[in-house]
Amino acid sequence: MGNPSEPPGLRREFYDRIEQANRELARVREQVELMRDRVRADRSDGAEELAQFARSAEAPPELRAVQSRIDRGEFTWEQAWTEDVDDEDVRRLRRSARTFFADVAAVFETAEEIARAQGLSSDEAADLAFQELQRRKEADHG
């Protein structure tokens, strides 16, 4: 029991926890700042780059088909990717993309393991994981 001759207060342990949370939050904030820097530094225009490629002869037919719909103003690349566009060309492209993005998933999974096991930064872990995937692909294809 406390002594009423001394004004009671929240315990030191409580404030310590708040301070601890602040310290951890400062680290998270730094991490988020790095994410923002990455976004700010990237001046590429994904949609424009993709549109140029999709109009070229090297582009696969699924990509060209969607690009021609986009060129007709039916939807944008962002919508084709991020929204539920009811269109068979978009669905076909998404099916193709799914297989391709499995590689991204594999890199992510490996990178997560590497980052956890070796305590590396996300960039270092992604780099190592990508190299690992390339080695596997090259081995598979002789």
Partner: protein, 353 residues
Amino acid sequence: MVDVDPAQLDGYAAQLLRNADFFDTPLKLYCSANCNKTDDMTGVLWPAQKAVHLTHDATVGILTSGRQELGQVSFLLKQAADEYRKADSASAEKIWTVYAKGADKRPADWHEKDSAAHKGVFTDPFTPNPPPAKDFNDFKPAVGQAKKDLGKIQEWCQEYFHFNLAGILSDISGDWDTLREDASGYESLAGRAGVQPIADNLEFGMDSLSSSWNNSDAAAAFDYHIRARWIPAIEFLQHFLEMQKEMFEYVAQEAKTTFDVLVVAIQEAIKWVPKKVLQILKLIKSVVLAFSAGVAIKQLVAFLLDLKGTIMNVIKILKDLVEGFCEEAEVLAKEIQVAKEMWSGKHAPLVGG
């Protein structure tokens, strides 16, 4: 020879009873309506519900004790008035010299304070009427938007990359504003329209009575019981309610700051992930990943790793805050009992006295 006017004792007894009732109405009712909210305390905030209820129950318990104990003081004062009226001073004196004895001993040199400023006036200068707790509506829309955006990112990740963030996203919910609303309730309870009027009324009535009861050990004991036990006990309770308010507010504020950082990360992700994905789409049907796509893939993967790490760190911070809140609530629920011991005279001071 005791110098006493029993009618004045009756007057103060009636005032004490009215003030005892204030513990029930409006204070206890107010506490239950304004300090016990757990609406939408889901996700990582879910365990805090128990602590909110514990804090409320402990507060209601102390208010109930206040009602009972002050009611008893009123009853015994009325009884003493009756005994004095029957010219049985010995019985009347015994009531207060025995009842008010307590572990908290009255110092030998305690002198009752006489005041003639408003002799015989037993109206209440103040009435508790705490204003309704404030409504807060900052957190809920932010959580709703964050969940919506994260849900979108999750859909993309699930559909294209086959990895699932849903397991960690379920923790990103809960309306921390509810804690701020509870805090506002405790602030009102602690304030000038909360418990404080009872202390002010008790002091006012004691002054009104003081010059009508003299040359009596019981009068000194009663004076001590009101001025040195009840009034400090109510001040202690006030301070305690402020601490509860502080505890609720600290945690809610810290959670809001933490969550705001997550919102920034999510906003970046919502803008940037689709852009990277469109870059990567150029490489569809490539068998061996080309260098140019490799850069985009590595950037995307690193970003998603950072995003996931940020979400997990934010959840950890929030969980730690809730854990600290629950621990502190348990400690406070025990410590609030000091008020009960103070006004019942059972609290033996550790120093002084």
